[in-house]
C-alpha cells in the first residue's frame, strides 16, 4: 500500500509542477529572435569581448538588431563573417586579416636593466614605478600583460623575456594591443611581406645604444640605403612604409645595431624566439 501512496504522491507532484511550468512558459513567454541563436552558434564562443560587447550572445543580439556589422567579430574570420551576414541577407565588407606584432626585440640579453624589480607582476604597475626597471623607457618589460589578455593563448612569454605571438593561434582581435601599457604591440596585415624596424624607442641615439644593443639609434643609415624611399624618421625612430617596401633587404645590411628584420624572420611560435635572438645578436 505504501508504495502506491508514494507513486501517487510523487506522480501528482510531478504533474502539478509540470503543468505549472508549462503554464508559466505560456504566460511569461518572451519572444526571442531565432536569428540571434543562429548567429550565436556561428560565433567562436570565446567571449573575448574584442567586438566591444560583453560576450558572444550580446554581440549576436546587437548584430541582429543592427547595432553592429557582421565583421565586428574579428576572431570569427572571413568565412564565418560571411555566414553570419547571410543570416540577415547582407554582404560582408571585406576586412583584411591582421596579426599582432611586438615592436621590441630588446630581450633580457640585449637590453640593460636599471634596477631589480621585485614588485607586482604587471607591466602597467612596473612601468609606473620609476619609469620601469629597464634602462629603455620604451622597451618591453616582459611581465606578460599581453599574455594574460589573450583569450586564444596566442601570446606566450618567450625564453628571453619577450612575448611571442603564435601566428597560427592569433586571430588579430587586438586585445593585447590595448593590454600593453607601452604600446609595443601593433596589428599588421597578415603577410610575410616587408621589413620592420622592431623598436619603439624615441630616445636619442646615444641613450638608446647605452640602454639596448638592438635599439633604433636614429642614424638614418636605412633611409639612405633604401632604394624605394620607403623609410621615414618619426621622432628619432625609423618607420618602414609596408606598402612601399619591396623586400630588397638593403636596410637590414645598413642598420648598425641590427634593429631591422624581414617580417618572415619574426618568431612565428614559441621556441623560434631563441634562434631569432641569436641571429639578432650577431647581426648588430
Amino acid at each position: 500500500m505504501q508504495i502506491i501512496y508514494a507513486i501517487i504522491a510523487l506522480g501528482l507532484l510531478g504533474l502539478l509542477f509540470g503543468l505549472l511550468l508549462s503554464m508559466a512558459a505560456r504566460i511569461f513567454a518572451v519572444k526571442v529572435d531565432p536569428r540571434v541563436d543562429r548567429v550565436k552558434e556561428l560565433l567562436p564562443g570565446a567571449n573575448c569581448g574584442a567586438c566591444g560587447y560583453a560576450g558572444c550572445v550580446n554581440f549576436a543580439e546587437a548584430y541582429v538588431e543592427g547595432r553592429t556589422s557582421a565583421n565586428g567579430c574579428i576572431p570569427a574570420g572571413k568565412e564565418t563573417s560571411k555566414a553570419i551576414a547571410a543570416i540577415l541577407g547582407q554582404e560582408v565588407t571585406e576586412s583584411e586579416p591582421v596579426i599582432a606584432t611586438v615592436f621590441c626585440i630588446g630581450d633580457n640579453t640585449k637590453a640593460a636593466d636599471r634596477f631589480i624589480y621585485d614588485g607586482i607582476e604587471d607591466c602597467a604597475v612596473a612601468g609606473r614605478f620609476n619609469d620601469g626597471f629597464k634602462a629603455c623607457r620604451y622597451g618591453c618589460l616582459g611581465l606578460g600583460n599581453c599574455v594574460r589578455a589573450c583569450p586564444f593563448d596566442a601570446v606566450k612569454m618567450g625564453s628571453h623575456g619577450l612575448p611571442v605571438v603564435d601566428q597560427e593561434a592569433c586571430t588579430g582581435c587586438g586585445l593585447c594591443v590595448n593590454a600593453c601599457p607601452r604600446n609595443l604591440i601593433k596589428t599588421l596585415p597578415r603577410s610575410d611581406q616587408g621589413h620592420l624596424v622592431l623598436c619603439s624607442s624615441h630616445d636619442r641615439g646615444k641613450s638608446v645604444s647605452r640602454a639596448c644593443s638592438v635599439g633604433c639609434i636614429a642614424c638614418k643609415a636605412c633611409i639612405k640605403a633604401c632604394p624605394q624611399e620607403a623609410i621615414e624618421m618619426d621622432d628619432k625612430l625609423a618607420v618602414i612604409d609596408l606598402d612601399k617596401c619591396d623586400d630588397c633587404g638593403e636596410c637590414v645590411a645598413a642598420c648598425p645595431p641590427g634593429t631591422i628584420h624581414p617580417r618572415s624572420a619574426v618568431p612565428k611560435k614559441l621556441g623560434e624566439e631563441k634562434e631569432f635572438a641569436e641571429n639578432a645578436a650577431s647581426a648588430g
Partner: protein
Amino acid sequence: MERLLTIIFVYILVENFVLHRFFGICPFLGVSRKMETAIGMSMAVVFVMTMATLVTWLLYSFVLVPYNLEYLQIVTFILVIASLVQLVETTLRKISPTLYQGLGIFLPLITTNCAIMAVALLAVREEFTFVEAVVFGLAASIGFSLALVIMAGIRERLELAEIPDVLQGPAVTLITAGILSLAFLGFGGMFTL
C-alpha cells in the same frame, strides 16, 4: 525573536555553509574569480535558497508528514527545487529583464547546488517552525554570500601577487579557502542554538 537572531548569527558566522559545513564548494571556487560574478551569484543564491526552504518546508509539513511519506523527502525536494528555479527563471525573464540579465546565468547553475538541497533537508531535520525555517534559509544563504564575496575579494588581490609556480591556479585557491575556513573557526561557540 531571540531564537531567530541566534539562528541568523549561527548560520552566517559559526556554522557557515561553505566554510564550516563545506556545502556549495563548487560555486564557491568556480565563480569567486571576479567580484562582479560573485555578487551576482550571491544574490541568486539568497533568492533561491530562501524560496526553496519556504516551499519545501510547506510541502514537507502539509503533504509528506500527513501521508507518512517522509522517506520521499530527497526525491520530492529535488523535484521542487528544480521546478522552482525553472519557474523563477521564466517569470523573471518576462517581469524583470534587468534582474534576469543580472541573475540569468547563475539561476540554472544553482539548481543542482548541494547547498540548496542541504538547507531544505536541514530545515526539516532541525525541526524548525515555518518562520524559523525561512529565516534559516535566508541566514544560510547570506553566510554563503559572505564567504563567496570574501573569497572573490582575496582572489582579486591574488591576481596581482607573485605566487610560486607550483602553487599557481587551483592550489593557491584551495589553500586560501582552507585558511579562510580556519579563520571562521574562531567564531565557534560564540552562539549556540
